[in-house]
């Protein structure tokens, strides 16, 4: 039981170590990276099956009982997000190997990528707030390295912004942890759930709000998103893709987890979350419309889509939260695919600037198809997964009569479609521009993008079972007791 839980954290760290030692042999590094991630995807699939059939899988690292030891928990929410993330990490690694570039030029790419994997897995699996801090740090430290691989001037400049804002968030996180520990006497999430109910209302709301700000920075919600569209586009494509798909979503996961576990139903900051969600959706998409570079447009869309997830959480109903979980899974896959497809365009033509692109439908038809499918999905066109996610969220909102935020989400969706049309018209249609110092597209890059596109389509095809699973996950979280019982056994 415990082995399944421990592997996603310990195995990539071990693999990273071996990858450092064999640094001189690129082929060995590649084999280690791919084999590790394949094993982890299988592990996560088994975890999800177990968590769904027998309830949350719980383990204690070091053998010390909760709430004293390091608790690892895979309930339905963690397991489904873990599986989606690891599958995405695998596809992006294959893509990076196909592309060469940073993967070939830097000995450090594979070890750091595996460490990032360990950090992401640990963030999903940890059952205690302090270890969540540790896993965020592991994840962020790896991301600092990945973001500035190559050491170009603009990378270092935007990397500085990213490092500073992340450190500020980390200090706030540590402060929040200290305050929580001094008032509740524990940092184990399940234990906190029971102890928090005994605190004065004002105190627990203040603490939960502080935690919300911390994860709000990581998840890039309005008004804490400003760092994201600036720093992400400068990184190498594969790195941007994996950041776009995963890092902000880990922040969203942390928001969902803490806001449902820490606060009893009456105290939850519903209006605040919904207002933040509405502003995030709208400001993000408006920012995207103003941009003229594929990666920058897509980076603003990351922010915009985060708004939908927060909206689903803000309803605090099984339908809303279920929709949010489904939407996170959809976003992890779709967003990454879009960045990979954008990377194909850049690799083929040497630029991502829409003014200098055109006619790719004829010159690079594979990239065109692989961009179109996730783009339509992102905009919420049926029958793709984005439509199902948005439909579920809007339906949940209308059930409770939140007309305003639902209207904003529909408007944002329309503007998303407009912005996707802009990329489509600028890059794929129109006169074929003279192609710059481009390259032919390697089969591995196209293959990895195609596989991820197929996974996105699978989310739409199996939307029924997946949505049912999301609703069960939401039900667990809203009841609260399920999680506590699984960890503490009472």
């Amino acid at each position: 039981m415990s082995g399944l839980l421990a592997l996603p954290i310990a195995l990539p760290i071990g693999a990273a170590a071996v990858s450092i030692v064999v640094g001189r042999w690129r082929a060995a590094q590649r084999v280690i990276g791919v084999v590790t991630l394949v094993a982890l995807v299988a592990d996560a699939a088994v975890l999800l099956a177990r968590a769904d059939s027998d309830g949350a899988v719980v383990g204690q690292a070091g053998g010390w009982e909760a709430p004293f030891g390091i608790t690892l928990v895979a309930d339905r929410l963690s397991a489904v997000l873990l599986l989606a993330s690891l599958a995405t990490l695998l596809a992006v690694l294959v893509y990076a190997i196909g592309q060469g570039g940073v993967e070939r030029n830097h000995v450090g790419f594979h070890p750091v990528y595996l460490t990032l994997t360990a950090g992401v897995s640990a963030a999903f699996l940890t059952g205690d707030l302090f270890n969540m801090f540790v896993s965020f740090e592991v994840m962020l430290t790896s991301s600092y390295v990945l973001l500035t691989l190559g050491g170009r001037r603009d990378q270092v400049r935007t990397g500085m912004t990213y490092v500073v804002i992340s450190l500020v968030a980390s200090v706030l996180f540590l402060t929040a942890l200290g305050l929580i520990y001094s008032s509740a006497g524990t940092v184990n999430l399940a234990d906190l759930a029971t102890r928090f109910t005994q605190l004065p209302v004002g105190e627990r709301q203040a603490l939960a709000l502080l935690v919300l700000v911390v994860f709000g920075i990581k998840a890039a919600v309005f008004p804490l998103f400003f760092w994201l569209p600036d720093s992400y586009p400068t990184a190498p494509t594969a790195v941007t893709a994996v950041f776009a798909g995963l890092l902000t979503k880990v922040g969203v996961y942390a928001i969902i987890r803490t806001q449902t576990v820490l606060l009893p139903p009456g105290d939850r900051p519903q209006v605040l979350l919904l207002s933040v969600a509405a502003a995030t959706m709208l400001i993000g998409v408006l920012g995207a419309i103003a941009q003229n570079d594929i990666k920058r447009i897509l980076s603003f869309h990351i922010v915009s889509q985060i708004g939908y997830m927060v909206m689903g959480l803000g309803f605090f109903t099984v339908a809303g939260l279920g929709g949010a979980v489904f939407f996170v899974v959809h976003q992890i896959i779709t967003k990454t695919t879009l960045f990979l497809a954008g990377g194909l365009v850049e690799h083929r033509t040497g630029t991502g600037n829409l003014d200098r692109l055109g006619g790719l439908v004829r010159t690079a038809p594979a990239a065109a198809v692989l961009f179109l499918v996730p783009a339509l999905s992102l905009a919420g066109i049926p029958p793709f997964s984005g439509f199902i996610g948005k439909f579920a969220l809007i339906d949940a909102g209308l059930d409770d009569g939140w007309w305003g935020v639902v209207a904003v989400s529909l408007l944002a969706s329309l503007l998303t479609l407009f912005s996707m049309t802009k990329i489509w018209a600028g890059a794929f249609w129109g006169e074929a521009e003279p192609v710059g110092p481009g390259h032919r597209l390697p089969g591995l890059m196209v293959g990895a993008t195609a596989a991820l596109t197929a996974l996105g389509l699978a989310v739409a095809i199996f939307a029924g079972p997946l949505y049912a699973l999301s609703e069960r996950a939401a039900d667990d979280m809203l009841q609260g007791t399920v999680y506590v019982q699984a960890v503490l056994g009472r």
Partner: protein, 145 residues
């Protein structure tokens, strides 16, 4: 660079004593103040003394292993110590110990955590050596503009 005989002599003295102290911390760490991380830091400080005395070349001569090999090897050791209990059916990172009476040393208690700590020790030393590789070398000629 010009070298000072006084500094060289002191560096030799300090280096060896500091390494012995760092090993003491490593072994004492399980139940007393110390541990792999602290031990590694002290060992790294010892390396700094050599760097001050003789520059980067002196540091490179200390070990025939490259810094990343030391760091990677340490990480391999630490993750093995974390993963092996899983094979035995225990929890991740679970530790075990043996006690016994050895000649010379007397009563000794050995824990499996020592393996993990040794890994951490190597990681810290390797990391510091890598920092020296990256930042501590003489500036390249092209920088003199």
């Amino acid at each position: 660079m010009t070298r000072s005989p006084i500094m060289d002599t002191i560096a030799d003295l300090v280096f060896h004593s500091a390494i012995v102290l760092s090993l003491y911390f490593l072994f004492a760490g399980h139940n007393q103040p110390g541990g792999g991380f602290v031990g590694g830091l002290v060992a790294a400080a010892a390396v700094v003394v050599y760097y001050v005395a003789g520059g980067m070349d002196e540091v490179r001569d200390l070990s025939r292993f490259r810094p990343w090999t030391i760091l990677g090897g340490g990480l391999v050791l630490a993750s093995l110590a974390a993963l092996v209990p899983l094979v035995a059916g225990d929890a991740l990172l679970q530790s075990d110990y043996v006690e016994g009476d050895l000649p010379v040393l007397g009563h000794v208690k050995l824990t499996s955590t020592l393996l993990f700590d040794s890994g951490v020790y190597a990681v810290v030393v390797g990391l510091v050596l890598m920092v020296f590789e990256g930042l501590g070398d003489e500036p390249e000629a092209e920088d003199h503009t």
